[in-house]
Point group: C2
Chain length 244, copies 2
């Protein structure tokens, strides 16, 4: 039973404390929608919600905490609760949990990444700032320079993909790519150790350079193609390493 | 301040009750990872966590509730807490919240949908069961038959896309497409009203038929192309309707 809003509240168990919390969480969520509040706007006090809904302040506090967990509400140190900004960490934890509990496989995550990153490469080539183009280029160079420090290569690799997502000017892409951080951190090293020879490792660096160059030159078609080549090689490496 | 795990706990405010909850939530999450628990597996009792971590049962209960909100833990009526299954509703609420608080625009959601659904169409053509092919075909036909009942068209439309996502055999796709339900429900009617003439409406039905046919005939290239045509037309309709 979830403590989330948007659930119907017509069942017998609505009288138990968990369901009351759920009902209040829904009411708070509806208040944000109905009042057209934006991220950072202040919410009414716990007392005001308690009075309006005819429940204890303790229940309101619990409901606010549940909404805080999904970053719909943001509660600072003693500050009045505010409407929350979309939190990359929530997505990241959901993806991480799904992989660790084997509800999804690493290969399934990589297929989703591929679908999304063909597009982020193309959009970044069209919309990147000059500074973003420079940062993307630096991370590609940083990967090559960091060899054979795999942790450092992985750090540049993740920052490379994340900066491309950011350069799309669509926050949803950054949100989802950031959530893949955990997967990249853990499968990156596996992929590296599975590459049998030096030439394949060099190919990985060359591919990141090719993506960066296409984005720098504002060429979406070539950026997308270079990203596709990158994923084809990486997925092959994972398959060779026996990663499901 | 988030009640989520994976946060560092080295700060001064770690002694306040909210941070204690956060710390315990993290410990529970780490327990799930370290013990390699899967969805449905039972967690240790609140008392056991309280004793091991040296905190009150009340704090453990709050931490469990926070994890329940993101569906990492599932708590039934009086049952012992279990490891939760990935919850489509959590993604859906995050996306809904992001749109309503204007952190992302409808057009940005459509661009993400397009990136993902080109791939779901292709994968569905390769992996769909015969039953899924039949359901997809029925929803395409249902859209046309429902005209001019826009709510009913929208219902078939959403079920059509969701069944395609399901047919990919990759639960991440269904998770994300399901999260778009709210957007489809609200922008669907806007798109319809913006279509100036009958021929454009017929074109939408024809496109859904074309996608269904390609999936039925196991033709991933044609399925992807038909999905691209569909999105190009729909995005044009939204732009004409002035949807940001």
């Amino acid at each position: 039973m979830s403590v989330l809003p948007l659930e119907p509240f017509t069942r017998a168990e609505d009288r138990d404390p968990d369901s009351q919390t759920q009902k209040v969480a829904r009411a708070v969520y509806e208040h944000i929608r109905a009042s057209k509040l934006k991220a950072g706007d202040t919410l009414p006090s716990e007392g005001a919600f308690a009075e309006e809904l005819g429940v204890s302040r303790g229940i309101v506090r619990e409901a606010i905490r549940a909404l805080t967990a999904v970053s719909i509400v943001d509660v600072g140190n003693g500050r009045r609760a505010r409407v929350g900004a979309v939190d990359q960490q929530v997505f990241a934890i959901l993806i991480d949990h799904a992989i660790r509990t084997e509800q999804v496989s690493v290969q399934q995550v990589w297929d989703l990444r591929r679908s999304i990153e063909l597009r982020t490469a193309a959009l970044a080539a069209m919309r990147r700032t000059d500074e973003e183009a420079a940062v993307i280029t630096q991370h590609a160079a940083g990967m090559r320079a960091a060899y054979p420090d795999i942790a450092e290569i992985t750090r540049h690799d993740f920052a490379f993909h994340r900066t491309i997502a950011q350069a799309t000017r669509n926050p949803l892409y950054e949100l989802i790519i950031a959530a893949f951080g955990v997967v990249i951190e853990e499968t990156g090293p596996v992929g590296w150790h599975s590459r049998p020879d030096e030439s394949e490792r060099v190919a990985v660096f060359d591919m990141h350079d090719a993506i960066a160059a296409a984005i720098r030159q504002r060429d979406p078609t070539r950026a997308e193609q270079a990203m596709a080549d990158h994923f084809d090689l990486s997925v092959k490496a994972l398959v060779n390493a026996g990663v499901r």
